[in-house]
Amino acid sequence: MSDVSPTPGFAPRFTAHGLVRGGQRLLPVSVFVFPFGVAYGAAAIEAGLSVDQALVMSLVVFAGASQFAVLDLWQAPLPFLSLALVVLAVNARHFILGAAISPYVNGLPPRHWFGSLMLLSDVNFADSYQAMKEGERDAAHILGGGLVLWSVWAIATAVGVFAGTLLGNLERFGVDVVMAAFFAALAVGMVPSFKAALPVIVACAVAVLALPLLPTGWNIIVAALAGGLVGVVFPSESKATP
């Protein structure tokens, strides 16, 4: 129904050239992903994941924030439902990214459509979305950037896993606070004004109050929903695109 094309006669492509262009543009940026990957690898070992598990998770999930988030829940018996919901909540922003970039991918045949989106993340979204506004027509651009980020993420995880295994208890290096610090910084970055902070403040209050009352992880889910609802009732001046 709303399969809108940005310009009349616009036909998205999916070629190796686009893949390489997208990859090249993200090579310098991907350096900044490295420290997070190392931190994740070390934190995963600390949380009790095996070397293989930490690596496989980075390879098949490739979403740092959610990978960090599940480490807090990583105890037997594994709370599957709250784990899945926390991952859903942490990665829900992908919905917005996918919706924003949809005009550039939705005309593609299914496997190219899938390829364009399968490694979609904040960084390659930001870069490819900008490129497409400037006339890029090749949806493989998104995958190219994604492949670079994915490779760096996996290599960095391996380095972190190695360091974690080698050095043992990493609290003396402050590795245990990396996730919380990173999330706090991300949340601050997502809040452009004081008014926009209201959902976050409510979510924090709900998370603390519900913590002793609910099973592991559920206080976070309830808090996320509460924050989302506050955002609907008191919308801040919404950005048209993320």
Partner: protein
């Protein structure tokens, strides 16, 4: 208690599927509908809220060292707008705290 390997890989598979569905879901639903401003507001507010909720839970479950480290991360983020510097500053503080104060 440690998680056995089979359960761990099952959980990783669940994570991978849920994450993939978030990557595909946005473009998929746009074939049929447009994302209403309310839904966008909900998702935007929830994205920041879930991160904040995780941080607060972490602080309550731990203590002063962790709370101060997060406070430093927030201040550095506000000053530099760089999540990397925020992360390093918090790590350095937490490391120093462990080495010198415990």
């Amino acid at each position: 208690m440690t998680v056995d390997a089979q359960t761990a890989y099952l959980a990783i598979a669940v994570m991978a599927l849920v994450t993939l569905s978030t990557r595909l879901g946005g473009a998929f639903v746009m074939r049929f509908v447009t994302l209403s401003p309310r839904v966008t507001s909900f998702l935007e507010a929830m994205s920041a809220s879930v991160l904040a909720a995780i941080v607060v839970t972490f602080i309550v479950n731990n203590g002063t060292r962790e709370a101060l480290a997060v406070g430093i991360a927030i201040l550095v983020m506000l000053a530099t707008r760089s999540a990397i510097w925020a992360m390093f500053a918090a790590m350095a503080f937490a490391a120093g705290f462990t080495v010198f104060l415990t």
